[in-house]
Symmetry: D2
Subunit: 431 residues, 4 copies
């Protein structure tokens, strides 16, 4: 019988056989999941898993939602086993606690693990979760299943498994095409624009990949090599600029970071990527002394126009209310400095999500730039403001600790003064 499709063939026979032996002929996807979980043999399991993935991908959107709901209902915890494990546990019995842990595991988690046995399944499960996240918006009852995915993905996409790659003009087109699609901060308008960003000698692009999904970037960062801290993105993206010799660059500007896989939401890679790229660039180009971002403040106007309170002066609030886009540049800078330094969430961390990300990584709030992003999007969100965060290897840890433990924000004297704060924190040696 040997033939090309031997393995697929076996897998199909096995799946069909498994069902026939249970007296069923036609099966729905929920039943397939049931079989996958109940089957003890790995051979038929693989075939069934493959069939579940194929079927899911062929379903229409509402049927996919129904599938998730079905899973959520059907493959929760085994309550009898859990009850018994609870009864069996008493404080101090770690063995019983582990039994309880496994007894309390929802069957849906094991279902996802078994689906992942199929070669190539990981990418398909990431896509499956991105569909799930869409449905989650209207079906909060799916949050349990989403927890299962996130828990497993956070283990499977551990930093230890990832590989960093340079993306340049000798990268395969199928990957470059995805970079165009996934750029989320400063749109790439086509192949010519892309060429500028990956093939110019003073531009670099780095991405993380998972070895089981070799043609799909997970996250990427775009870097411009310059001779000063950029204050506006226009000059970085300009088509007609003359590239500089990278060996003469003193500054690396991280001007865009994009997460690529919506199915990996909540799994964080950016922190690792920035530090890794700083490390690679520093090794390659010894003249580089300054590593800095040019970052958006996407929520600035939303905050200033509706959420701001005592952080702003009356005059500022009034200008915002009346003038909107015509506030004088100096005032915009001051509002931004106050927003970044004073606006806080209930948890005590800064309100701005981008600032929170970089401060949490140990960066310093270095400079506020007005008229830095004059795209319609940039005006609409932030009156054109962009911010530099500085990564200084000597201070990263102290900043990280101070922010993580005391929510203390590392900022340059210039920005502090702009926000109406004293030039330095008492006894601060870090900034």
């Amino acid at each position: 019988m040997p033939e090309r499709s031997f393995l697929s063939d076996i897998l199909q026979r096995v799946a069909v056989g498994a069902r026939l032996s249970r007296g069923k002929t036609a099966v729905d996807i929920g039943t397939l999941c049931d079989e996958l979980l109940s089957d003890k043999g790995e051979a038929s399991g693989l075939a069934t898993a493959m069939q579940i993935l194929d079927t899911f991908e062929s379903l229409e959107n509402d049927k996919q939602a129904a599938f998730f709901m079905d899973i959520a209902n059907r493959f929760g915890v085994d309550e009898t086993a859990l009850q018994s494990a609870i009864s069996g546990w008493k404080a101090g019995d770690d063995y019983a606690a582990r039994k309880l842990h496994y007894a309390a595991e929802p069957k849906s988690q094991e279902l996802i693990r078994r689906l992942n046995r199929v070669p190539g399944a990981t990418a398909r499960l990431v896509t499956m979760r991105s569909v799930l996240l869409e449905h989650l918006k209207t079906h909060p009852e799916l949050s349990g299943i989403d927890t299962d995915f996130r828990h497993l993905f956070s283990s499977w996409f551990s930093r230890g498994f990832l590989e960093i790659r340079r993306i340049n003009w000798s990268t395969p087109a199928e990957i470059l095409e995805k970079i165009i699609t996934y750029e989320a901060v400063h749109e790439i308008t086509g192949w010519d624009d892309l060429r500028q960003r990956v093939a110019a000698p003073d531009r670099k692009l780095f991405a993380f990949f998972h070895p089981a999904i070799p043609t799909e970037p997970l996250i990427f960062v775009e870097v411009a090599l310059t001779t000063n801290v950029s204050s506006a993105v226009g000059s970085i993206l300009a088509r007609d600029r003359t590239p500089i010799n990278p060996a003469s660059a003193t500054t690396a500007v991280f001007y865009s970071i994009s997460n690529c896989q919506s199915g990996l939401r909540g799994i964080s890679f950016g922190n690792f990527l920035i530090k890794q790229v700083v490390s690679e660039l520093a090794a390659e180009l010894p003249a580089l002394k300054t590593f800095v971002t040019l970052s958006p403040t996407p929520e600035l106007r939303k905050w200033a126009e509706s959420l701001a309170g005592a952080e702003l002066t009356d005059l500022m609030r009034e200008s915002i209310a009346n003038a909107k886009a015509d506030i004088p540049p100096t005032m915009i800078a001051e509002i931004t400095a106050r927003y970044l330094l004073l606006a806080k969430r209930a948890s005590g961390t800064v309100y701005d999500p981008v600032a929170h990300f970089h401060l949490g990584n140990g960066a310093i709030l270095h400079r506020v730039n007005v008229n830095a992003d004059l795209s319609p999007q940039g005006i609409k969100n932030a009156w054109g403001v962009m911010v530099n965060y500085l990564y200084d290897g000597k201070k990263i840890e102290a900043n990280h600790q101070a922010y993580a433990t005391e929510h203390q924000v590392a900022a340059s004297p210039e920005v502090r003064v702009m926000a109406g704060l004293p030039k330095k924190l008492m006894g601060d040696k870090n900034v």
Copy 2:
């Protein structure tokens, strides 16, 4: 400050800084683990994790045991949280059940997950578990930690992540060297012997690798292409044999399967590997019709000499007791057939572990060969007996199901008769 070691440098500062900020100067590895689990910042976590792995590897054997014991004591479940999660759960509340699941997770499991964030950590964790398994023999109280490792490894080494590779004479020497070391069934005596097994046109070797450990095979199988079902391993391993043209081979004999990583004990790959290799060979060499193993029965004599009961005749038992190695070949064959077909474990599965493995995969017990492995080891364990298991694509599933659900053993009429059973099972269509 930028320099080659920027990243490592950051990592070290971060780790040292983290400790200093807590007022400690010297730390033991247990304290480092404590920090790794308590730290919320990922940057310092990575540095701490690296330091834990380095320190563990530098410890002497008894200190490593002490480390595991310390982990087991210190990083069990958080009992207060667990108690509260138990109180919060009632039947039907899947949300609370998930909370309970995570509350019952021993902290040691999260510790291993965080260690795996370090680039290259996976291989080091596999080695760590192999050390743990040694200590487990004398310290059963470490079984909980081992459960954590196995649980995570079974997820990280999912079939979907593995890649199959052909090992041949263009494989890097560092990998070939490991094949020599890891061969567990028929020792490879050196590079010349290895060359025979990987570079002869009628010999093949396939291995599974995990992409995060690219130079370490996980499991490999050795195949001889022949024109009949081999009845003895000597002719396969002979140095002076003349290779046949692989295109004229009708039979693929799987004469050796070796697991390479003791740290992955309990994570099963063999089943997938055999079927994948059958599939690849069938596609490449259409003349191949028969896929069969030549397998040992490592426990045969131990069983026959001390555990056998009604499965054997009085005459057999007497011959074994008196004659040992001088039992007539026909009787050895009959004893083996009875052993394989009739000797069972309490669970109802067959006693022989190799038979259990292949029958569980859906293979057929095809033939018993006497004088098949005349090495001292082969005589000592099994009077020189080896067994062929046949992988027949058409019957794999039915056999698998029959064995998995009813412990029904698929065997050729010849072997059944040899064991004193009727030629066929009533209504059996599989064999």
Copy 3:
């Protein structure tokens, strides 16, 4: 002194040193060539060669012409040596004949050989020749130098050194970009058009590369997999078409062949490429039965409008003279058939260069298609006509021999009749 640039450094010292030791400080490129030829040490030769290439590339166009002229004048044959070798030779003395051969070698040939010692020089020499070919148009006295280049290139770009590669969507962008640039038959309008031609399942693109110039294709062919012999290129290039399953294709249509390197003019690869691609496709897709081109007749109108004589009827000639583009389709087909079968060069081969190429490869003139290429170019050159040449493995050799030795043209009965010839050649078994 060791440092990054050790080798370059040595090379430069060597070159400068070599000149200083001869008492010169500033040198022109001709003098450098002189040094390269006279120097016996390979070390300084390498440095000098590098400097010659660098200098040449920095010259303006007219200086490059002057350089070639200088070379032609300065590095001809060594006449004294040649005269002496002539005197030394008499019939039957092969040793003296070889001496004569080397004595008659122009020094410019050895100059090119020595330039090629520089790593990466081959690509630069190909470019140098493309410049030379431009100047040759106005400077016929450079034809000797061009002969040297062609002679060496034909040895260096021997079929045995070339490698075939499939170009697809996982090919690096830097190579794909060159495919866009080099397509000479049916322009590729951008990356989307390219994607159609290389990434659609029923489209293939194959190219030859030289291993010393790994990112520069030498020649490539584009193939469409179809279910019939295409009669027009529009349907092949249509953007909105639905791809077919390649496994169901019966016909491979070679619809474009482009030479990429003008510097390799006169070095022929197309013959080998087509046959290699036929071989690869036949192996991969067993359902493919027909291998056919869809080729232009770029000189048809030029010939018909000014060169045609007795090959055409009076009516035809009159229609051409009066109506030009409005000749009825049937007549266009007949004119084309007569052009391809009857118009000959002085040497006896067919007039049409594309027909000459395919007939010389052993293909059959299979079909004339009117309204096949309605692009402005297609109309202008050939009233929109395209031609299918059929590659039939069984007949290739006989056709090739018949054309090579007797200029006998293999054509389908249909085309022969169209040209007013008998349906078959007497005794012809090939078509």
Copy 4:
């Protein structure tokens, strides 16, 4: 008709067809060569070339000699054409000179070029020449053919085509196996010895490859990283030594250079290889300051015992004649220094071939070491003497020029004094 062997199939048909069309059925290899040269079609040429190579390789040794003789006789120059080209040439006519050059080319040269069109032919032609070189010893009349091979190889194996590769423990076994075979200076006794030489952190091995022969090294050099200039090879090859940290090494000792392909005799790569390796090591390990060889003097005793004259003192000659291996170490050193500095060939270059090679590359004769190679071979050839040649980037060019133009030998003061010469050359700044 499409099938796997389409291309081979075509090629065979073509070859058979070509012969049939000439009315022949059985052909000898000489006739095939005749056909290859006369055929104008490239298709049948490729098939014929393939057949010639196959046939040659199947011939017995004496038939191969006969084949070469046949070629030499049959494919010399076309004398009529040559005579006519001679008549057509007069001084100043470069066009006619080129015609003469091509007319004087022996047909055997074009034959080799055409054979090289077959994919993979280059390696086979190298082997063919190694056979030829064996026969040349007894058949000097084959020297013309050998000239053809050498001429073409020197063009095909131009430095610009070669690639350097590091050989280490991740190199494929098939290449490592060849390193063991080809090591010509200090035998590699097996895989363990090889592992020492390529996998120890303070040992390096570099090789040149031609891209058309990717698994065959052409030449390789073995390097030991040390902290001083090694004076004996024993300590380098010792099995039980402790490797040093390569970053702390100050000296790179080139202790073995081996040419691998006897078929490439006369094509020189060593000069390029050493300089390239110096460059790579200097870039990688900035602490390396000294690049030096540890080289044999294979002809020392032969010269001293039978060829030496006034270069030695009477006492020296007497000691050699009487004592042979028991000459005191100081005298051996002095004899060696005199041998290396004073013994010359008729051309004025030094007598010792190894010294000639390194001096020609610009190295300095740095030190004579007695008791440096105590292997039987080392004693037999050179009383155990080995020599260090120093590659000093600052002096390479001046030394090269001085040796190339005036045969002036760069030697350290120590060695000069040892040879009874003044410490320095008048005005010498190089040593």
